[in-house]
Each structure stands twice: as structure tokens, then as C-alpha cells.
């Protein structure tokens, strides 16, 4: 999905310049203090992440089990259920107990066994379903990430360095198109053009051809090529614009003028000085996007019929399969929260000014 994360990218807290001369502590002691404070920072972030996940569980629980719009027992019982059957199910699932008891049981199972309950659809464990689908989603995300970064970084740099040139205008115009094209449209277009069943130019395996890497690496690769490019298109465009903007901004900095004044070759000025600053914020945003995609690239997985987490989420929604929906939501939340933590810690390493 090409939507932006709802969470803002982390704004690094930049330590104000101290004007009191060099630090008085010895460098060794300083490093030790820094690493222990980093550890505290990471722990604090993890605790905070756990708290957020707790809230997510509470919210999903309330939405799915407490609102009268969906009666879990009725859903579970199926279409032609007698009131008696529904009552029985209600009792066996503990849905007649007070809400806080239900939530407590749900939370206990979740924390102790990562128990996400059983699908209403086919009585399978939601947890096992999700883990079985995770490799497909990881494959899709990782490949798309590689594609979009390999496209976005060079394109962004060239566009920035050759600002207002024909290349810049053409590429940025194309980027706008790619950002605007919805995945379900682009995906179908790709299938109609290149898939080996319905395509005009039958080049690559089409929808429903996903093969696990462990079964056949080559088929895994070819079957994912189209989804990778389709999923990467909007991201590549968005990131290219971001790289371009960041590089342009950094090229106007005083320290770039210093780098030139030192007599550095323009190549080093751009690749060592400008890029180092321009890519740092992009790393953090990329981390968040990966986290979001690992929670399931719903549209891409659905268009290409890839049995991933996103496809599972889609099917669960279509079938009003509450435990499965709840499971995918929580699963996604875990990835996003984790990505946030990873990104914040990474940023502390990438930018020495970040104080934690």
C-alpha cells in the first residue's frame, strides 16, 4: 500500500550546542556512560512500545467484542443457526462473562502463548495461519524494498544534482504518475501486460503463482517480480522525490560550501557529504514503511493472490472472521511498533547529535 504511515517519522531531538568548552570527562568514561544511557533509552522505548500494544489490544477487543454491531457468537454459529446454538456457543466461548473477564482471558492467552484464538471460518489457529503466511509477506516486502531503494536513490540524486534539467523534469513527472497510480490498477495493468496467462506479452508468472523460496527459488523469484515492481512503484517515486528534496536542501548547507572550499572533488561533495546527511532521515522513514508492509501489503497481495498476511487480512474481512481480523491487526501493530523502536535506535547511531 502506498499510503503514508499515520505515525509521524521520529523527529530527532537535537542536543543544543554546549558552549562550555570541551567535555571534562575522559573519553573512555564518556563512551561507557553513553552506552549505558543508550541501553536505558532502548529499554524505555521497548516499554513504551509494549504499552502501545496493550492499548491496541484493548481497542481491537472493544471494537470486535463489545460493540453490538457484531455478535461474535452469532458470527461463529453461522447463517442458519438456532438461538439455542448461539446461546451454547456464547457460553462455551465465555462470551456471557463480564467484559473485563473476557479481556483478561484474551490478554492472558495472548501474552503467555501468543494465542490469537481460532478462526470462525475453519477453526484453524490464527497464530499458525499468520506465521504460515509471513514468509510470503516478508518476501514481497524485502524484494519491493530493494527495488524501490535501488531506483529511488540514484534517481533522486541525479534529479537533485541536475535540477531543472530535462532529466529532472521527466523523472519527477513520472514519479508523480507512479505515486498517483493505485496499486490495484497498476497491478492489473502489469498482469494484463506481462503475465503468462492473460498478458499481452507473456513474460512472467501471473496472479496466484507464488511459490515458496524453499520449494523452488527460481520460481519464487520470477513469481514475485511483477508484485515487487508494482508494490515498489509508488514507494520508488515517493522516495525519489524525498531523496531529491533532501539532497537539494543539504546541498545548500554551509558545510557543503566548506567541503567545496576544501578542494574536495564534486563527487565526494555529493556522495560523501551531501548524501550522508540526506539519507539519514530516509533510513528512518524506510524502517517505518517496512514495518507497515510486514503487517501485510493488502492490495498487492490481493491483486496477485499471494498467500501472505495481507491476503489473509482481506479474506478475514470479507468473511467477518473476527479472531483472524484481530490477529492481523495485532500482528501489524507489533511490526509497526518494533519498526519504530528499531528506527529510533538506528537514528541515534546515525546522528551523533541525537540525545537519548
Amino acid at each position: 500500500m502506498a499510503t503514508r504511515p499515520a505515525t509521524d517519522p521520529p523527529v530527532p531531538r537535537v542536543a543544543p550546542a554546549r558552549d562550555g568548552g570541551p567535555p571534562l570527562t575522559a573519553p573512555g568514561a564518556l563512551a561507557a556512560a553513553a552506552s549505558s544511557s543508550l541501553l536505558r533509552y532502548v529499554l524505555r522505548r521497548i516499554l513504551w512500545g509494549a504499552f502501545i500494544l496493550l492499548i491496541v489490544t484493548a481497542l481491537t477487543f472493544v471494537i470486535f467484542y463489545a460493540f453490538p454491531s457484531a455478535d461474535p457468537a452469532a458470527l461463529r454459529a453461522g447463517r442458519s443457526a438456532t438461538p439455542q446454538l448461539i446461546a451454547e456457543i456464547r457460553q462455551s466461548l465465555g462470551l456471557d462473562k463480564p467484559l473485563y473477564v473476557q479481556y483478561w482471558r484474551f490478554l492472558k492467552g495472548l501474552v503467555l502463548h501468543f494465542d490469537l484464538g481460532y478462526s470462525y471460518q475453519n477453526q484453524t489457529s490464527v497464530r499458525s495461519e499468520l506465521f504460515a503466511r509471513l514468509p510470503a509477506t516478508i518476501s514481497l516486502t524485502a524484494g519491493a524494498f530493494v527495488v524501490w531503494m535501488l531506483v529511488a536513490i540514484p534517481v533522486g540524486i541525479v534529479s537533485a544534482v541536475r535540477r531543472r534539467s530535462l532529466v529532472d523534469r521527466a523523472v519527477m513527472g513520472g514519479a508523480l504518475v507512479a505515486i498517483s497510480a493505485p496499486v490495484y490498477w497498476l497491478g492489473l495493468l502489469a498482469l494484463f501486460l506481462f503475465s503468462n496467462d492473460i498478458g499481452v506479452v507473456p513474460l512472467l508468472p501471473g496472479a496466484g503463482s507464488y511459490t515458496p523460496f524453499t520449494v523452488d527459488p527460481w520460481r519464487w523469484f520470477t513469481s514475485l517480480l511483477l508484485p515487487w515492481f508494482v508494490l515498489a512503484a509508488a514507494f520508488a517515486a515517493f522516495y525519489a522525490r524525498m531523496v531529491r528534496g533532501n539532497v537539494l536542501e543539504v546541498l545548500g548547507e554551509d558545510y557543503i560550501r566548506t567541503a567545496r572550499a576544501k578542494g574536495l572533488p564534486e563527487r565526494d561533495v555529493v556522495f560523501r557529504h551531501a548524501l550522508r546527511s540526506a539519507l539519514t532521515p530516509i533510513v528512518t522513514i524506510a524502517g517505518l514503511d517496512i514495518g507497515i508492509l510486514l503487517g501485510g501489503a493488502i492490495l498487492t497481495e490481493t491483486v496477485f493472490n499471494i498467500p501472505g498476511v495481507g491476503r489473509y487480512a482481506y479474506d478475514s474481512i470479507v468473511n467477518a472472521d473476527l479472531p483472524a481480523i484481530q490477529g492481523t491487526v495485532l500482528f501489524g501493530a507489533v511490526f509497526i511498533v518494533t519498526a519504530n523502536i528499531v528506527v529510533d535506535v538506528l537514528y541515534a547511531f546515525l546522528d551523533p547529535r541525537v540525545r537519548y
Binding site: A17, P22, E253, K262, R272, P352
Partner: protein, 335 residues
Amino acid sequence: MALLEIEDLRVRFDTRDGVVKAVDGVSLTLDRGRTLGIVGESGSGKSVTALTVMGLTRLPNATVEGRVLLDGVDLLRLPGDDLRRIRGKRVAIVFQDPLSSLHPLYRVGKQIVEAIQAHEDISERAARARALEALREVGIPSPEDRLASYPHELSGGMRQRVMIAMALVLDPEILIADEPTTALDVTVQAQVLELIAELQREHGTAVVLITHDLGVIAETADEVDVMYAGRIVERGSLRSVLDGPEHPYTWGLLQSLPGATRGRRLHPIAGSPPSLIAVPAGCPFHPRCPYAFSPCSEVVPPLVESEPGHANACHLPAATKREIGLGLRTGRAAA
């Protein structure tokens, strides 16, 4: 032959608002080992002149005319790669704000090492040893540790010392110091100026000291160029300009200087510098000049010598200028 000779330099920038005539016919010379002070308000073209010498105004929207001769070689016509070999190696520059001028994500040592390795094919180890020596020379305490510091970990004065160390590490013939003390605490400013003067004596470097502060110039410069609206309006030896200033703008600068008129009211120059997009016709200073008369708004006054080595660009009769200029000096002497 002078070390650096600038002849009729003109720098224009095409902007959305119009053409900015940042430098409009500047000529100056700098001899080996000497210090040239360039004084003027912001927007007088002094920094653009300096940046142009370094080839840092080679921008798509800039037009540069004239000649900048370093040992007779015109830097303006040098191909980019040859110019690169001169930047930092023969002509170095120290900027106003050391915090924004140092890369925030690289350690100080690495930034100096990089400057050395841009010009000399030496090992990282040897370059670090020289970087260390340079830091020691600019008086940074425990320089070994500071090599591993990031710019934000240093104080303002220390950062500027790092910039100076970086500029002088390759022993350039010319050091351009563009408002090197403006961003620093007052207490540190004198130290930094002192340091530049001291290093200059030891290395025989020629210095171009750019400032808006005549007080800074009075400490260190041999010659002075006063710039206004992209032109030089007065030039001469430090003594002749301070003791017998001839241009009304210089008078204004002197009267707005706290130290020069101790015990008297400060007289700031009325008005503000002109837009360089629409420079006033005639003498660009005439709208702010209390002595302006008929030709000033029509004829651009040329820079003419009043005595050997002292020139001004003003229509006032020579006798009037001398009288007012000397009056300023006696005023200062009385105070």
C-alpha cells in the same frame, strides 16, 4: 607582481525578483604576507567577492566578469578541476558560522584529514598526525581527544579554531577570513583574531579579512578597502583610512563605532543599504549621505587617488573631505 589581483570584478545573480548586482566593478590587490581588510555592511558585496575568488559563485544563475589573478593565473577562467586543486591548497577560507560550516555528522579529525587528502596523496595515519599538529597549533586543548569530537560537542570558539586549523593545515598562500568572529562571543573574538594574526606571522600567509566591524580591521589590517553596494568607495593604508577618512560612508562607519568615539553619542548611519537589484543612480550612497549635492544622484564617482595609496569615490571637493576627515580624527583624539 601582487599575489592576488582582482580586476574589475562584476558578479550578478539572476533571481526571481530581478538581477542582483552583488559586485559591481571591484579591483584590488593583495601582496604576500599582507593583511587586507574589507569593510562594509551586509549586502555590500564583500562576501561575494571572497566566494568568487574561491570559485564558489560558479552557479547556474550567476554571471561573473573581470579577472581574478593568483600569481598571474586567472582563476575565473580555470577549468573546474584545476580550480579544485587551488581551493584549500593555495587559497583557503574561514566562514562566519563555524557550527553550520562543519559537517555535523563527521568527526572533526576526519574533516581535517579529508582536507589534507583532497590535495596530498598521503596515508590516513600521516594525515591524522598533521591534523593533530594543526589542532595543537591553533591552541585547542587536548587535541588528541578533539580529533574524535563532533562539531556540536565543541564550544563556538573551539569550532572556529577547528575551521582555522582546517584552513591552514595545507599552509595556503592566502587565507580569506569571512566575518570570522561575528558568530562568536565577544570574549572569544579577540582571541580568534589574535590567533589568525599570529599564524599569519609564522607562516607568512596573506590574509583577506572581511568584516562589518572597523574595530576588527583596526587591530590587524595593513590595507583597507571600504565597500558599499558592490563597489569600493575608499581604499588606503590602515593609517590613512583611520586617520584621514575621505568618504562619507567611512565617516559614518567610524562614527558608529563605539570605541572610536568614546564618551560621545554614537551616530549610526541613517537608512539601510540599498537593494542590489535597484541600486540608486549616481553614487549608490547618496540617498543616505548627509553631504550629497547635485552631481551625486546622477554621476557615479570614480575611485580616484587623493594622495599616493589613498583613494576615494566621492564628488565632494578634496578640501572638504580632508577637513571633515581630519575633524573626525581630532574628535577621536580628544576623546
